[in-house]
């Protein structure tokens, strides 16, 4: 087991280097490079841009710039925001709690929806519950998240006036209830989309497991249906689902971009759209790297969790 974990961690390192190179090239391949925003500004003279280029080291060979950036990034020096001059780390850190809150709530809801739906749909294959959830989850997978968010806003905030349409809390404070009310709609958007995909996945993997010989043998030994489904089948079907859930969770670090902007939720997703509007490349690069690193790291965690649930994984 230990060897397995160490090996997976070591494999993640070259992957992170590749990701960082892709992110770096993307920003630097842009016409005008990171200084593009100044090129269209009539108040900035060409010689000023030239001076900035030299000051920022943009005149050096690309690989040298990449190396400097990567080394600094690895040590936690993520540079300064182009738009307000504050350290990128500070700008990101102040947004983390809001995103964690939203993503955490969405994950809890999504898992709570996924487990019963996936298990029941698999054990009642072809019956009305299975058909209904198949249709609903198909719609959920196909939903444009931002439109779903707009609809919920239109119905529950603008139309009925039951819930606030945006933000994290009513300005000037607000109690716990106010906070929960703000959290509700964006959470529903994320949770519905996630649970739609996951429950289909769990259903499929449950069906596959339920058809295996050891299930038949467990039933033949006289174990109750409930025990066979929940203890034998579910445990085996859970491994692949864990992998999907962890990777989706990691993608949410930035993947809540759409939901966060629709609901003006002040997290990392909104920071991304704000930085994008101002061409704040240092912030954009840091966010992309952060989220890609999260995916790579969570992949290792997912493998580890999979190996715990299903020891065959670590051996092979």
């Amino acid at each position: 087991m230990l060897r397995f974990i160490v090996r997976r961690c070591l494999q993640a390192v070259p992957l992170l280097v590749i990701v960082s190179a892709l992110v770096f090239l993307l920003i630097h391949a842009a016409p005008g490079g990171p200084l593009a925003i100044y090129l269209s500004n009539p108040n900035v003279r060409p010689e000023d841009i030239e001076r900035l280029r030299r000051a920022l080291g943009l005149d050096r060979p690309l690989w040298q710039q990449y190396w400097t950036w990567l080394w600094a990034f690895a040590r936690g020096d993520w540079g300064y925001s182009f738009s307000d001059g504050r350290p990128v780390t500070a700008r990101i850190l102040e947004r983390v709690p809001a995103t964690l809150e939203l993503v955490g709530a969405a994950l809890v809801w999504a898992i709570a929806l996924t487990m019963p739906t996936g298990i029941l749909a698999a054990t009642r294959r072809g019956r009305w519950f299975d058909r209904l959830t198949t249709i609903v989850s198909m719609i959920g997978i196909s939903l444009p998240g931002f439109w779903f968010g707009l609809l919920l806003q239109m119905i529950f905030a603008v139309g009925l006036g039951w819930l606030p349409s945006s933000g994290r809390a009513t300005p000037g404070g607000g109690d716990v209830l106010d906070h929960v009310q703000h959290l509700l709609l964006p959470t529903v958007v994320l949770a519905v989309v996630l649970a739609s995909g996951w429950s289909r996945y769990l259903r499929g993997s449950m069906l596959e497991t339920l058809s295996l010989p050891f299930i038949v043998s467990a039933q033949a030994r006289g174990l109750s249906r409930r025990r066979v489904v929940l203890h034998h089948a579910l445990r085996n079907a859970l491994g692949p689902l864990i992998a999907i859930v962890t990777v989706d969770a990691a993608l949410l670090v930035s993947g809540a971009v759409v939901t966060e902007s629709v609901f003006a939720w002040p997290g990392l997703g909104s920071l991304f759209t704000e930085a994008l509007a101002r061409r704040d490349y240092t912030v954009l690069m840091a966010l992309l790297m952060l989220s890609a690193s999260a995916v790579v790291a969570f992949n290792v965690v997912a493998d580890f969790a999979h190996a715990v649930v299903d020891p065959r994984v670590a051996v092979s």
Binding site: P14, L15, I18, V19, L22, V23, L26, I27, A30, P31, A36, M138, I139, I141, S142, L143, P144, G145, F146, W147, L150, L151, Q153, M154, V158, L251, S254, G255, V257, V258, S261, F272, T273, L276, R279, L284, L287, L288, S291, A292, S293, V295, V296, N299
Partner: protein, 257 residues
């Protein structure tokens, strides 16, 4: 299979025959009839410039469907090429290509495309290319896995022994066997392409007004949620209808094996 395929056929037909289907021009401004609720004259109402929403949706279908389908073709072509070479060659080349694939998969797709779109200010063909280039990884993985298992079978070896070159083996012997897997990932890529286009346009960095796409219609509708809800409902319903149909089609294709 029938209903989704029928819906998609209708949408494509309407998009192609847009001048015949749409009662008004998509960019025809009628300031006397601004923000009108749905009526017989304007089935889905009019927007803030008096343009007919139904006509805009029909013309928007051209852009949205074209972006979805063509970007899926780009993605699949790249995926087949990269996954095919990796699965057939094996060894270091395979390992290298698959690490790049993993790397691309780790970078969140929409934010990546948003940055690219802001930087490049893409035209519609450019947008198709960008969305396609951000979506080849899934196909590459599937094709690689298929080629990997097929590569060890006797027929590949016998074709090689009979004097077939690598390209011929890849295209004539291996690719047909992976056709179904490619078809499934192609349909999924169509739905994803439509969603990505709408999201990019919704953020104002995709298809630029005044040309209509379902995404940028939603972008313009955002400010009128309380007063003219039909502006936001109609394009969204069309996006959803299309993606559900395409995904259902992909689902059926996948379960055929």
């Amino acid at each position: 299979m029938r209903l989704p395929a029928f819906l998609i056929a209708c949408l494509i037909a309407a998009a192609i025959a847009a001048p015949l289907v749409a009662p008004y021009g998509p960019e025809r401004i009628d300031l006397a009839r601004r923000r009108e609720a749905p009526s017989l004259a304007h089935l889905f109402g009019t927007d803030e410039l008096g343009r007919d929403v139904f006509s805009r949706v029909v013309y928007g279908a051209r852009v949205s469907l074209a972006v979805g389908m063509l970007s899926a073709v780009v993605a699949s072509a790249c995926g087949v090429a990269i996954g095919g070479v990796a699965g057939y060659a094996g060894g270091a080349l395979d390992a290298g290509l698959m690490r790049v694939t993993d790397g691309m998969l780790a970078i969140p797709r929409l934010p990546l495309l948003m940055i690219a779109a802001v930087v490049l200010q893409p035209s519609v063909p450019m947008l198709i290319l960008l969305i396609g280039l951000a979506g080849w990884m899934e196909t590459a993985r599937v094709v690689r896995a298929e080629f990997n298992t097929l590569g060890g079978r006797g027929f590949v070896e016998s074709a090689r022994a009979a004097g077939a070159g690598h390209i011929r083996v890849l295209v004539r012997h291996l690719l047909p066997n992976a056709a179904q897997a490619v078809a499934v990932s192609l349909t999924l890529a169509v739905a994803r392409g439509i969603l990505l286009e709408s999201a990019l346009s919704f953020f104002g960095v995709g298809v630029r007004p005044p040309a209509a796409s379902w995404g940028n219609m939603l972008y313009q509708a955002q400010s009128a949620l309380g007063t003219e809800p039909w502006l936001a409902v109609t394009p969204g319903v069309f996006i959803l209808l299309t993606t559900v149909s395409v995904n259902a089609l992909g689902d059926r294709l996948a379960s055929r094996s």
